[in-house]
């Protein structure tokens, strides 16, 4: 970038927002801002860009917690379409529903009950950039590419560092489960159920699935019944109970 008026202007603006101006410089700056609309816009844009970026780069634990709750509800988009009250498209929607129902009934892709309810995706943490987050990110990638053994190794590291990390424990349980080690999955999943994280009842659900994997229907049923009516995955649990 060559030195032109803009470069000098931007340096001035930087100085202004850093609060490093002498009273005389400040007065000159304000005068120019009043008089020159183009300059005024530059100042406003600079301020908007830094304020907006500052806010979105800052971690907001409250927002992170909300995002976990939102993701634990995501399965609701995968369920069979509930009836949408839209009159004009009712007929069309109904015929689509019949087709979907028929496909679900015959479902050539359906292997067994377990795989029908198994989790497909690990939610990757929002980009934040700390070492811990990049481990979680790595685990999410491994999990999502179905490299469960690798995911377990990565999650072990996270858990050694922070044994109280419900997110890592939950997904390590799921990784064991997907890796056909239900007996190793259960301690993690039961710990999740006994804890108070957003994954609490998913912990119960997947403990149930671990028994289903071993064809222990009685235990599976017992765990599904632990999921109370007000839990987010109550419908899913009831559905599986029906299927058993």
């Amino acid at each position: 970038m060559g030195i032109d008026m803009n470069d000098i202007d931007y340096e001035l603006i930087e100085q202004y927002f850093s609060g490093r101006m002498t009273p005389e410089e400040l007065a000159a700056f304000e005068n120019r801002r009043q008089a020159d609309p183009e300059f005024r816009e530059m100042v406003a844009t600079w301020s908007d860009v830094s304020d907006t970026l500052r806010r979105s780069l800052q971690t907001d634990p409250q927002r992170e917690a909300l995002i976990q709750t939102l993701q634990s509800n995501r399965y609701q988009f995968k369920e069979k379409g509930k009836v949408v009250s839209i009159r004009r498209f009712m007929a069309a929607a109904a015929s689509v529903a019949v087709l979907i129902a028929a496909l679900m009934y015959w479902s050539p892709w359906k292997k067994d009950l377990y795989s029908q309810y198994a989790i497909e995706e690990m939610i990757s943490p929002a980009e934040r950039g700390s070492a811990k987050d990049s481990l979680a990110q790595q685990a999410a990638e491994q999990f999502n590419q179905r490299h469960y053994k690798a995911a377990i190794v990565t999650l072990d590291k996270l858990l050694t560092d922070q044994p109280g990390d419900a997110y890592a424990r939950y997904y390590r349980g799921l990784s064991y489960l997907e890796n056909d080690q239900p007996e190793k999955a259960r301690p993690d999943l039961e710990a999740i159920y006994n804890g108070e994280s957003v994954f609490k009842y998913e912990g119960a659900f997947f403990t149930a699935l671990s028994y289903l994997k071993e064809k222990n229907i009685a235990k599976c049923r017992e765990w599904l019944l632990k999921i109370p009516q007000n839990a987010e995955n109550y419908d899913k649990a009831q559905e599986l109970l029906g299927d058993l």
Binding site: V49, L53, R55, D60, R63, F77, G81, I86
Partner: protein, 193 residues
């Protein structure tokens, strides 16, 4: 900001602000089917719908948390407006034509609410654009801008980067200048004007 009175559905927004899992679950149960239907009708998948729905709720959270958004119409109407706006823009980004099938039900919302919804989408989209453009800059510029946006004293940042304070200031203004110019070049591509 709106001069109309706050709608009783504001409690949904409070639930987002305080991560009330029960109410958030209710939001999904009550409103997800409609958004899913809308997106599926307009060349999207169930996954697209889930993304749009989740992002819209985060946008509403941000707007309430940082910009004092208060609801002046039913939450359902507001959420649908944000979701639709977002999907419309997503289709545009994918180079598809816009939405052709709208939802049958039309809510009677005031202009204030419509403007609030549009602003909720636009402010958040703008933040995503800024972040994306920052991510596309050279590593050094990214580092300088990220550090400058923390509350650390500038001298400390200069020391951390191993440069003089004067150099840091000059470099920072150069980096900001090219970031701003990249943002301006992409505003219309992102549906922002």
């Amino acid at each position: 900001m709106s001069t109309q009175s706050i709608h009783a559905d504001q409690y949904y927004i409070e639930a987002l602000l305080h991560n009330e899992t029960q109410v958030v679950g209710e939001i999904y149960r009550r409103f997800a089917p409609k958004v899913k239907y809308y997106v599926l009708q307009n060349s999207g998948s169930a996954d697209d719908a889930a993304d749009i729905f989740q992002e819209s709720l985060v946008d509403i959270y941000n707007q309430a948390q940082y910009k004092g958004l208060q609801l002046t119409c039913p939450f359902e109407a507001f959420l649908l407006m944000v979701c639709k706006r977002k999907w419309l823009n997503e289709l545009k980004k994918r180079g598809r034509q816009g939405v052709t099938k709208d939802l049958d039900e039309q809510f009677n919302v005031g202009e204030d609410s419509f403007r609030d919804a549009e602003k909720t989408w636009a402010d958040n989209e703008k933040a995503r654009l800024f972040k994306t453009m920052l991510g596309q800059m050279g590593e050094r510029c990214q580092e300088i801008i990220r550090l400058s946006l923390t509350d650390k004293p500038q001298e400390e940042i200069a020391a951390k980067l191993g440069v003089t304070y004067g150099y840091l200031r000059k470099k920072k203004s150069e980096c900001m200048a090219s970031l701003i110019s990249a943002i301006k070049d992409n505003l219309s591509k992102w549906g922002l004007t």
